[in-house]
């Protein structure tokens, strides 16, 4: 039996869906530096990302079920939208250096430490590659959501979206 792809079947957006939503930056933009990837593929009533962006780079408008639209030229990749998204669906990627950087929200205990080599996983939680933790940001404003940045080989910029939870026995 072949698995049907797409968010309603697999629980995460497919490559095809990601290519069609208005929240994703172009290849060229990713190569220029940090930029948000808003992986929000369903029209749900939600717009905190729009307000969280100090640069006006995210537009939801009315109705609030519109998919968030990214203005990739206004976005500086500051990452404030990551913790603001109640769906934890926003990531920031940077393809301008030798290695790729991926920032993602993380709400598990315990947190890794800066410099740790972590098991980086894809949208299905599968181990992709080891990656170094560059930053962990968790100001009070984020209300307990940590934003972690890992460094991974460039070919994994589009696949790595989190790290394995710590302190778990392998299943």
């Amino acid at each position: 039996m072949t698995q049907k792809t797409g968010v309603i079947y697999q629980g995460f957006p497919s490559e095809d869906e990601l290519s069609r939503i208005p929240g994703m930056p172009s290849e060229e933009r990713i190569k220029k530096g940090s930029v948000a990837c808003i992986e929000c593929a369903q029209e749900i009533p939600c717009n905190p990302c729009e307000e969280a962006c100090p640069y006006g780079a995210i537009t939801v408008g009315k109705p609030i079920t519109n998919l968030p639209k990214l203005d990739q030229d206004k976005c500086i990749g500051c990452g404030l939208c990551i913790a603001a998204c109640p769906g934890l669906a926003i990531f920031v990627v940077n393809g301008s250096k030798e290695k790729a950087e991926v920032s993602f929200p993380f709400e598990y205990y315990p947190l890794p430490n800066k410099g740790d080599e972590m098991d980086c996983v894809d949208r299905e939680g599968n181990m992709v590659v080891k990656g170094k933790v560059l930053r962990i940001v968790k100001p009070p404003k984020y209300d307990a959501t940590a934003v972690i940045t890992v460094e991974v080989p460039m070919e994994h910029l589009k696949t790595v979206r989190s790290i394995k939870r710590l302190g778990r026995s392998d299943r």
Binding site: Y9, Q10, F12, Q42, P48, P86, G87, L88, Y108
Partner: protein
């Protein structure tokens, strides 16, 4: 006998929002709740809410609960706890029990905001200790800070199943799998994506064949379903689980409304029989209003808006607001409610609520 302008039954998101709105208008409000703590199910919602700023989007549910409690206190709302309402009698006389003793209170207006309860699911082993409602598990981890188990099977992929799976992992448990009888995931994709990248597999077209164990859950056998929702022999999967959480929908808690004599309509997508109400949230009984999940199961954000609506409408009918002011406020609330009831997930509820309002018009 104790009297009040407005008696609100239920101190959850709908009831508290109603109380705040009515008290702000100047009404004397008494909230009754059977629990020892107010807040209903808001304090176990530790995720950030959806919606827009007016819906308190981006704020975690339990903080919204704290805000509501602070507002009720500031506005002088009386909150009676350990007050289990068991009957509503003629002339809006409410009977309740506190500390084992009978009490009554007479109100000019009553708002029933009694909420909903979780549905069960029948399968061999469904009564074993360790099989519980997903909301029950959520209460245990987020309010009582106790894990009901370590290795969880979640049944149902609506938002409750997805969110509670995530929160069980946040509390330190492992979710072995989420199974869903329908061929696709029911809840928001963003909630599903959170647990997927934590490595939780979501099996659609799958149900529980059997839960194993003598004294408690010691394993789960899941099985695939065909297009006709029949089990496919030979597709069984075994999970070494110690806990099964059921997130298979909720049913409105309507006993008081039945007893009071409200007229009902049957709308399956809202959870079954629901009291008929108008655009002021007033039932077919004059002076008796409803708000929140009792009117049809939605979520906390719309429950709070319905509560506000009932609060404004009660205040208006007691002449704390003139018609114009009330209309202005009610229109704002309806706009916010409509905003929550749009898009692929909201449309169905929008249509269902229209049907409920139509039932009122047909009676009139």
């Amino acid at each position: 006998m104790k009297t009040t302008d407005i008696a609100v039954i239920g101190a959850g998101p709908a009831g508290l929002s109603c109380a705040v709105e009515a008290a702000r208008a100047g009404a004397q409000v008494t909230v009754l709740d059977e629990n020892l703590k107010p807040g209903g199910q808001l304090f176990k919602q530790i995720h950030k809410f959806f919606g827009s700023r007016e819906h308190k989007a981006g704020i975690r549910g339990f903080r919204i609960g704290q805000q509501l409690l602070e507002e009720t206190e500031k506005l002088g709302v009386e909150v009676l706890l350990d007050a289990a309402v068991y009957g509503i009698y003629e002339d809006r006389l409410i009977a309740y029990i506190t500390d084992g003793k009978d009490h009554t209170i007479k109100a000019k207006k009553i708002v029933m905001a009694t909420g909903a309860s979780e549905n069960a699911l029948a399968f061999p082993g469904c009564t074993l200790p360790g099989v519980m409602g997903a909301g029950a598990a959520q209460t245990m981890i987020n309010v009582n800070r106790v894990l009901p188990g370590q290795k969880i099977i979640m049944v149902g992929s609506g938002n409750v199943g997805l969110i509670v799976s995530y929160q069980l992992m946040q509390a330190g448990a492992d979710v072995l799998a989420l199974i869903e009888a329908a061929p696709k995931i029911g809840g928001y994709g963003v909630h599903a994506a959170k647990i997927r990248r934590a490595g939780v597999q979501i099996y659609t077209s799958t149900t529980i064949k059997e839960v194993l164990g003598e004294e408690k859950v010691e394993g789960v056998i899941a099985v695939n379903l065909d297009e006709k929702w029949q089990q496919v022999t030979g597709t069984e999967k075994h999970f070494n689980a110690d806990t099964v959480c059921l997130a298979v929908g909720l049913s409105p808690l309507t006993e008081l409304a039945w007893m009071a004599g409200c007229e009902f309509t049957f709308i399956p997508s809202l959870g079954g029989h629901v009291p008929i109400h108008d655009r002021n949230m007033e039932t077919t009984l004059k002076g008796i209003y409803i708000a929140g999940d009792i009117t049809g199961v939605e979520e906390a954000s719309s429950a709070m808006e319905e509560g506000r609506l009932a609060g404004v409408a009660c205040a208006e009918s007691l002449e704390y607001y003139d018609e114009n002011k009330a209309l202005e406020l009610k229109n704002q609330i309806w706009d916010r409610l409509d905003a929550l009831r749009t898009g692929p997930f909201g449309e169905g509820r929008f249509t269902a609520k229209l049907k409920q309002l139509d039932a009122r018009r047909q009676l009139a």
